[in-house]
């Protein structure tokens, strides 16, 4: 039985789906179905698509409530749990911080206090009125985005599509967020390399997964260095300031959406990260700001 690899671009990243299958045509059909679902999620939730659910919700900020379906309600419910469990540091209304923090600007510049304050004033998930049928952002200028959840959610669904399509020996990799539907064909685990946070293209460690997921959050994806300090795109929703405690955190969990949000929340929690990850019963590899590797004291 050969391994088929399908590469595709979506959600602003290079992606790959690997399927062990004895029939190439069936594997391709399955891959097409799975990729179509990724594109569906992208079209539905990308904040850059004018007709997406996210765009409609953001357009209605300060106005009338926007009708939502069950899937959107479920995602909002998950985002709400993340908000609660991170004591408000993870907040899907924090996208407005991009107006204060511009990581593409050259030379880099720190936002002034007023800019940060203007942005954080619009970050307020608890004020969002959401219910099973609708959602309303109460103030003009507020925005939500599913940036920290959507890609991982899509990876999980790819795995489910393969599993239910009779191909449980499959691995979905959406821009570094990895989810296995099951082990490889011969029962052996998939080997997933973890990027080194300071050496581009270097692998820091390899983890083996027979199923479940690995996702990494790091300070090296979007950032600028200024006066010997790194300012990354992972920003505490309450203070409006980038976190500094960790260079990267990789989480192993049953679901990619869980691995991804645990990694991000752990980055945001800084010194409380390891206690949080232990309580969520996930395994992890974390590199602190001094480059020291941390992992669970006991196997999870």
């Amino acid at each position: 039985m050969p391994l088929f690899r399908f590469s595709f671009d979506a959600m602003a990243s290079p992606n790959e789906l690997q399927i062990w299958h004895d029939d190439e045509r069936q594997a391709r059909t399955l891959a097409d179905t799975a990729v179509a679902d990724v594109r569906r999620i992208e079209a539905k939730y990308s904040r850059y698509r004018d007709h997406s659910v996210t765009a409609r919700i953001n357009c209605g900020a300060g106005g009338a409530a926007v009708a939502i379906d069950a899937e959107t309600y479920a995602l909002l419910g998950y985002a709400d749990r993340c908000h609660r469990l991170s004591a408000g540091r993870f907040d899907i209304t924090s996208g407005v911080l991009r107006h204060a923090w511009d990581f593409r600007r050259s030379p880099p510049r720190l936002p002034d206090e007023a800019e940060v304050a203007a942005a954080t004033a619009l970050i307020d998930w608890p004020s969002v009125e959401w219910s099973r049928g609708s959602v309303r952002l109460p103030r003009r200028g507020m925005e939500i985005d599913f940036g920290g959840i959507g890609k991982e959610y899509a990876a999980d669904r790819m795995a489910t599509i393969c599993h239910e399509g009779g191909a449980p020996h499959a691995l979905a990799n959406l821009g570094g967020d990895v989810r296995a539907a099951g082990p490889q064909q011969d029962g052996s685990p998939w080997r997933v390399g973890i990027s080194h946070p300071r050496q581009a293209d270097a692998v820091m460690a390899t983890v083996e997964i027979e199923g479940g997921a690995v996702a990494t959050s790091g300070d090296y994806q979007r950032f600028f260095d200024l006066d010997g300090r790194r300012y990354c795109h992972i920003i505490d929703a309450r203070s409006g300031q980038p976190v500094t405690h960790w260079q990267s955190i990789s989480v192993l969990a049953p679901l990619c959406v869980l691995a991804g949000s645990c990694a991000t929340i752990a980055m945001l929690l800084e010194h409380e990260a390891e206690a949080f990850l232990a309580r969520e019963r996930v395994a992890y590899l974390a590199v602190d700001s001094a480059g020291v590797l941390h992992r669970p004291a006991v196997a999870v």
Binding site: H163, P168, A180, A181, G182, P254, L255
Partner: protein
């Protein structure tokens, strides 16, 4: 409901049956590694589920209760029949 009057039938379980039942249970315990959520693909297969084909179960049960005295164990509320 009245208490079950089984005292008139003290026949114990024959020893060899007890052994078989225990071997089955122990062989399970020896490899007890409850699956993680993502390891349930095999358990989800139709042949790994109990009573996956409801009509097959019911037809077999019906045939056996028409020939044998023993019944029960599988569930409650199946349709009865005149085979005492």
């Amino acid at each position: 409901m009245r208490s079950l009057d089984l005292s008139a039938h003290p026949a114990p379980l024959p020893r060899h049956w007890v052994c078989i039942a225990m071997v089955v249970l122990l062989s399970g315990c020896a490899t007890l590694q409850p699956p993680k959520p993502w390891e349930k693909g095999r358990l989800a297969k139709q042949e790994m589920q109990f009573g996956a084909d409801p009509i097959d179960v019911r037809l077999a049960d019906h045939i056996y209760t028409s020939k044998e005295a023993g019944s029960g164990g599988y569930g409650v509320g199946g349709g009865g029949c005149g085979c005492n």
